[in-house]
Symmetry: C2
Subunit: 213 residues, 2 copies
Amino acid sequence: MACSSYLDAIGVSREHADIQRFEKGRPVFEQGKAPVAAFLICSGTVIVARLLEDGRRYVARFALAGDLIGLSRFERERFSAHALTPVEAFRINLNENGTPAAASAHDVGRLFKRTTSELDGAYSHMITLGQKRAEERVASFLIDFAERWRSAHGETREIPFPMNRRDIADYLGLTIETISRTMTLLNKQGLVAVYPNRYEIFDPKGLAAIGQA
Amino acid sequence: MACSSYLDAIGVSREHADIQRFEKGRPVFEQGKAPVAAFLICSGTVIVARLLEDGRRYVARFALAGDLIGLSRFERERFSAHALTPVEAFRINLNENGTPAAASAHDVGRLFKRTTSELDGAYSHMITLGQKRAEERVASFLIDFAERWRSAHGETREIPFPMNRRDIADYLGLTIETISRTMTLLNKQGLVAVYPNRYEIFDPKGLAAIGQA
DNA sequence: CGACTATTTGAGCCTGATCAAGACCGGTGG
DNA sequence: CCACCGGTCTTGATCAGGCTCAAATAGTCG
């Protein structure tokens, strides 16, 4: 099974990783509860989000096959993770310093490298949130997600939206109306074709030029 | 010297860490150049920022004594780091997987934990950028920075601004004018006293209530 | 003291939020 | 097969928070 190659990539052996299945809509872990473990997504899409006191929601990331979630260790989970589609994931038990139980120094090194690149991704997303206008945000999301989707699922012409507009809005710090309007705009410019639950990029360069930075 | 306790915290021994001094305004490392090493700030303040093609700037963080910078490993530095004040820092050489040369598994574990908490900080800042209004952003910055300043320099009534308004603006995704106006507002509400290069918090709870989330 | 820069303040505008319909889509049952 | 229904998405009109442009003021350093 291809999934075990993901395990190899972080240096966790099969016998330390239980595979777990989640139906669409089910929580993988929940904000406020005691942390259970990290999960290595094997198939499907997971949304990682935090709910603020006043009801606003902040979406931190969309995790695809090959992605690790639930690494940061605190007394309570800071985020909820939910399956946007049926999900298969390896459950990886962690010891109290946040490294996988039964991992070698070399493996921790690989995990560490992964974490620093997640950190880099987080900083990139901050730029999106702090400095970009609506059109730029949506364009970079469409490019970014397509790229990640393809690296997880292979080259496909069309990319699905496993998430809804609300999810995208909360991820990009915009409203659903602005997401919709902006996508329509990019559509009319002939850069992409956007449908309710999938899209296709016609002009990657043009889109990238807008998403830039 | 107190600084070496910072080294202990990440499990790097004195002999693997050269101390280096930077004058105010000097780069610690520069965007686009080949990465040199990580630095553990020992005294002073460092600003970590990225310049976008179109001239916009994004400030990722302000690093104080005890903070580590330059950990993420890529072919080229993604950020520049500059001394906002005179800075002393330990230079920590890294091997290609991004872990300190000559660190034990246990030490890498500690470093790893530090990185995950930096990641958590990054996610919190994303909330600030994606979901908060100007007043909320400035309030949380003032609280946050005061807290970090005090944990690095001890309890002081007044907190200095080692950075200028432009730096704060680029950190919060706002303009200098909005920073200025908002601070004046918080000032008039009696929550803080803001001067050009220092401030004092009068009502931590009230300020926190605004900065919330 | 004077030149220069950083910060504050002011006025008007624009982007994206809000409020409000309307269209579309998928599923269900007659 | 199609009418209906609930939710999601799109589109429209208006509003407001924060940006832009502009000028005054306050610091800073020689």
